[in-house]
Structure formats: structure tokens, C-alpha cells
């Protein structure tokens, strides 16, 4: 059964901390892995990863994929209160997206 597992389920940090969110997957036909940030209703796209070892970076956020060990991490450095959100990981198989349950991040001032 195809599945995507995220950890931790929730995280509370102070502003300025660095956090690492984890996403592991088991799918029969991996095409790409995507990270989303969800604050109110619709998730917003952060990164798409298709190749192992190549870091994607956008400001304080970065992500990398390991296709051998079947996982990805999302790093956020110097966290801010505006980073508080649920971070979703999804895997695209060519037919369907499989979503993890998300990691709820709370950044305390």
C-alpha cells in the first residue's frame, strides 16, 4: 500500500530556532516529492524534488531528497512566527498524489 509518513506530528519552537521536518514514503511508482505550507485553507506550493542529493532552497527554507532511503527533509532556519503552519509532504506517482498527515509547526515569539 502506498503511503507517506511525516514526523514529528507537531513541533513548538522559539523564534530564531532551526527546525527539520521529515517525510518518508513507500510508493510503487515514484515520480516526485512535493512540500506544501498550509496556513488557512489551501496548501501553497514550496518545493518539488525529483533527484537525490540536490538541495532546493528558497530563502530560509531548504529541502533535499534521498531516493535510496526514501525520505526527504524540509529545513527552516531562523524561524519566524509567520512560519507557523502545517507543512505537508506529498508524493506524485503519475496517477495520484499521496499526502502525509502533515507536521504542525508553531513558532513562539
Amino acid at each position: 500500500e502506498d503511503k507517506v509518513v511525516q514526523s514529528p506530528l507537531s513541533l513548538v519552537v522559539h523564534e530564531g530556532d532551526t527546525v527539520t521536518l521529515n517525510c518518508s514514503y513507500e510508493v510503487t511508482n515514484f515520480r516526485s516529492l512535493l512540500w506544501y505550507k498550509q496556513e488557512k485553507k489551501a496548501p501553497t506550493f514550496l518545493f518539488m524534488l525529483t533527484s537525490s542529493g540536490i538541495e532546493k532552497k528558497s530563502g530560509r527554507l531548504s529541502s533535499i531528497l534521498d531516493k535510496k532511503e526514501l525520505f526527504s527533509i524540509l529545513n527552516i532556519t531562523a524561524t519566524q512566527t509567520g512560519d507557523s503552519a502545517v507543512y505537508l509532504c506529498a508524493v506524485w506517482t503519475g496517477n495520484q498524489f499521496y499526502f502525509g498527515t502533515g507536521t504542525s509547526l508553531t513558532v513562539i515569539p
Partner: protein, 114 residues
Amino acid sequence: SAVISQKPSRDICQRGTSLTIQCQVDSQVTMMFWYRQQPGQSLTLIATANQGSEATYESGFVIDKFPISRPNLTFSTLTVSNMSPEDSSIYLCSVEGGHSYEQYFGPGTRLTVT
């Protein structure tokens, strides 16, 4: 990227009634997806809607309860039929981003059933 709009953005409905949610995309797309997100949960795929064919439903979702239309490459509707309080949820439509395999989401419809 694709720009997606959904209507209505929110609604409060009575038990036993039906609500149709519309999803409009600003470009032609082959695959459209309908998701449900219940409070505190991740996204659950309801069905995949391809233009010109019947929607493909995931386990636990049936056409009688969630009929879907896909009349063209830019539009789809999802109907939540014979609603109960358990249907209270956010309903999201999304599209695949073509060659990039990205996925774009509509703003969502927040449904409350009383």
C-alpha cells in the same frame, strides 16, 4: 502555474440537502482532483476527474454521494449529496501542473452541515 477559483468559499447547509462546489481553472488541464480535509486531518483524495471520462473514486467515496462533472478542460463540479454533519469539511480542487508534476490548489470551500 495555474490559477484556480472555487465557489462557494463557504456555506452552512442543513442535513439532508446537497451542495455543488464549482472549480474553475485559468488554463486547460487534463487531470483535476477533488480532496476533502476534515478538521485536524490531512488531505484525503475523493476522486480524480479527467475530461471526457467518468471520475475515478477512491476507496470510501461513491458516485451517488459525491457526483462529479467535468464538462471541459477548465471546469469541474463536485456535489456533496444528502449531507450529514460528518460531511463538514474543507473541500479542495486541484490540478496537476503539467510536466513539472507540481500540484496547484483552489482556495477551498469550507462546508458546515448542521
